[in-house]
């Protein structure tokens, strides 16, 4: 799908991103060369296990990494503008304005010392140059939009006075108040209960349509992906394993890792679960070949030695797996993954 990347339709385009962290033990290679794009108005899901690099890649784009991070990319563009070489100061114009982020734990991402009102008006006054009164008015209106009852009262409250679900609503209110073009939600519902998760997902869907935003949803929950996203990127070991339209990922799976994730979910037939055995690789010394080779039930000697490239296997559907190589297919026969 490389040709769509040059489309005017592309909002965020990341080419060949590498992110590493220098630690006492050495360089941890968290993201090892991934390319991701998001189209205007699209919901992209990034799914993968903890430590697969899904959050780090988004934080890299936003220049929100810790000091010990090393970053390299061929290009990061947002709406045609380069983000890669922006200074920290220049990036602030984007953060919370054109691109907003929602994090997993609303308690730690809200500042406990400031009222909800102060925290929502802050980005409005900074980015939209609104006056205090206008900002407060807008804040109340946004709070109402995200389904917080009695917004005038809430504006004066502190984060600890709200429940977990309410806090996440406030986070969404802060994220959308400046009318962003892209919303990055990093495990927005992982800390919440299912009934609250349902509320928040419904709200995000509504807000996305109302504000005509693009959405990047980072999660480990395939259920959330299935109900929210139109396109999916599956990451593992700092690399993209598979990407494609939602239904292709679920019904025409092209990678054993995706298959493993789908099989790990209990069906309602009480059959024994099919887990992925073993443990994800340590990205301090990532394996030479495919990172999933050691846990893959289809693995060949080839996989351990050589890294497969992301290859088109269907319309907009790409997979990095040697099973799609013609000579492998000829020898082993077509392996059915879905």
């Amino acid at each position: 799908m490389s040709d769509t990347n040059t489309d005017n339709n592309v909002l965020l385009d990341v080419k060949n991103l590498y992110t590493g962290f220098t630690t006492d033990d050495g360089l941890v290679k968290a993201v090892r060369g991934i390319s991701i794009h998001v189209n205007q108005g699209e919901s992209l899901g990034i799914v993968g296990e903890s430590g697969c690099g899904k959050s780090v890649s988004m934080l890299s784009i936003m220049h929100l990494l810790a000091d010990n991070a090393i970053l390299k990319a061929d290009a990061v563009t947002f709406g045609g503008e380069d983000l890669l070489h922006k200074s920290v100061k220049e990036m602030r114009k984007y953060q919370g304005n054109e691109i907003s982020m929602i994090f997993q734990d609303p308690m730690t991402s809200l500042n406990p010392l400031f009222t909800i009102g102060e925290q929502i008006t802050n980005p409005l006054m900074r980015h939209k140059k609104m006056g205090k009164r206008a900002a407060l008015e807008k804040a109340a209106q946004v709070l109402d939009q995200v389904g917080i009852p009695d917004p005038q009262k809430r504006l004066k409250q502190y984060p600890h006075e709200l429940s977990g679900g309410m806090r996440q609503r406030v986070m969404i209110a802060i994220a959308i108040c400046c009318d962003p073009r892209l919303l990055i939600a990093d495990e927005p519902t992982t800390a919440l209960d299912v009934t609250i998760q349902a509320q928040i997902l419904e709200l995000m869907q509504k807000m996305k349509e109302e504000y005509k935003m693009s959405l990047i949803l980072i999660t480990h929950d395939l259920g959330v992906i299935a109900s929210m996203c139109s396109r999916v990127v599956v990451m593992y070991g700092g690399l993209i394993m598979e990407e494609g339209p939602l239904r292709d990922i679920f019904y025409r799976t092209g990678h054993p890792y995706t298959l493993g994730l789908l099989e790990s979910i209990p069906k309602h037939d009480k059959q024994r679960l099919v887990p992925i055995y073993g443990t994800p690789p340590d990205l301090l010394n990532p394996p030479k070949g495919c990172p999933f080779a050691a846990r893959c039930k289809f693995a060949m000697k080839l996989c351990q030695e050589h890294l497969p490239q992301l290859t088109e296997i269907g319309e907009g559907h790409r997979s990095a797996c040697w099973l799609h190589n013609p000579s492998v297919k000829a020898k082993r026969g077509e392996v059915k993954l879905s």
């Binding site: 296990e49 209960d193 349902a198 997902l201 395939l222 109900s227 979910i265």
Partner: protein, 328 residues
């Protein structure tokens, strides 16, 4: 009302209550947090009871009270027919051999300053199950039982991944040679691919040693997979209790319906087709709860009576009990 089965009961709790006092301030009457309010159920030997509900519904408190980590406020806990409600710590030791626990968070439930061998050997040492060299032999055996290697024994918890740590936690629980294990959200902190590993280990152990499990979780699909009976809790109350298929096929309580429909299906077609019941509002505070049905504030079917009288669990059929005024 008590739920009793014809099979041999391993654990039975009767009208269990656990209230916590929350200090309201100097010389003020403390507030009462009703974490568990009059819950009864029983689990037959070799079976698994799933306990589901949202955070703060009291499911973890039940698990801990069963192990007497918390003193029950009222009610009875019977283990194999014997009343263990009022035993003190010393008398409990002989039961702690039989009742063990797997904790939710594999990162905080293992002492970071101890190596794996010490962690697993702890119950053996302190319950005086073995002496000397036998302890290490037993530890090696346990480590292999959960699929870890012997050269892991000298390592410290922080060196392991979440799934590996949870297996260390399981090995520690097995060390006491228990009969009954409280699994307190054993998979909720783990990645999807690892969750299935842990569930399979638990199932293998159950068929090998005829363990009885109390499986506490908020993951409805996993509970359906592993349980024989399921209890649904809301705000300290057991609102529905049934055989697993009966519950998932024929759920009755409005809360159970909402809970099950809220769980997103990992299947785009089903997700599109499903009519999700989105509950409005938050779970009310369990501190000084108002009389009546705990769920009425979010229930679309709430009637006048729900505001004043709390419904008891009522028998619908042999396999199904529900606490709701709609079914009277």
């Amino acid at each position: 009302m008590s739920i009793s089965s014809t099979k041999e009961n391993c654990l039975e709790i009767q009208n269990l209550k656990k209230y916590f006092e929350i200090k309201a301030g100097f010389l003020k009457k403390p507030n009462i947090l009703k974490a568990v309010d009059d819950v009864s159920f029983s689990i037959a030997r070799g079976e698994t009871m799933g306990l589901v509900g949202e955070s703060g519904c009291g499911k973890t408190t039940i698990g801990r009270t069963v192990l007497k980590l918390y003193e029950p406020t009222d009610g009875k806990i019977l283990y194999c027919g014997e009343d263990i409600t009022n035993l003190d710590d010393k008398q409990m030791i002989s039961y702690r051999k039989k009742i063990q626990m797997i904790f939710q968070d594999p990162y905080t439930s293992l002492d970071p300053r101890m190596n794996v061998a010490h962690i697993i050997a702890e119950p053996i040492r302190f319950m005086h199950l073995m002496e000397g060299k036998d302890i290490m032999d037993r530890v090696r055996e346990l480590v292999e039982l959960v699929g870890l290697k012997q050269d892991h024994l000298n390592r410290y918890p922080h060196e392991f991944s979440g799934g590996q740590r949870q297996r260390i936690g399981i090995a520690r629980a097995l060390a006491a040679e228990p009969e009954f294990i409280v699994c307190d959200e054993p998979i909720s902190a783990l990645d999807v691919s690892i969750q299935a590993q842990i569930i399979n280990i638990l199932e293998d152990l159950q068929s090998k040693f005829n363990f009885t499990y109390l499986f506490i979780s908020h993951d409805l699909a996993m509970v359906r997979h592993i349980s024989n009976q399921v209890g649904v809790m809301y705000l300290g109350n057991l609102v529905e209790y049934a055989e697993v298929e009966e519950l998932y096929e024929n759920m009755m309580h409005p809360y159970t319906k909402a809970l099950i429909s809220a769980e997103p299906a990992a299947d785009p077609d089903k997700a599109e087709a499903s009519q999700r019941i989105v509950l409005q509002g938050d779970v009310p505070s369990p501190i000084n709860p108002a009389p009546g049905c705990p769920f009425r504030s979010r229930c679309q079917y709430a009637k006048e009576i729900c505001g004043s009288v709390k419904s008891d669990l009522k028998k619908i059929n042999d396999k199904h009990y529900v606490a709701c005024h709609l079914f009277e």
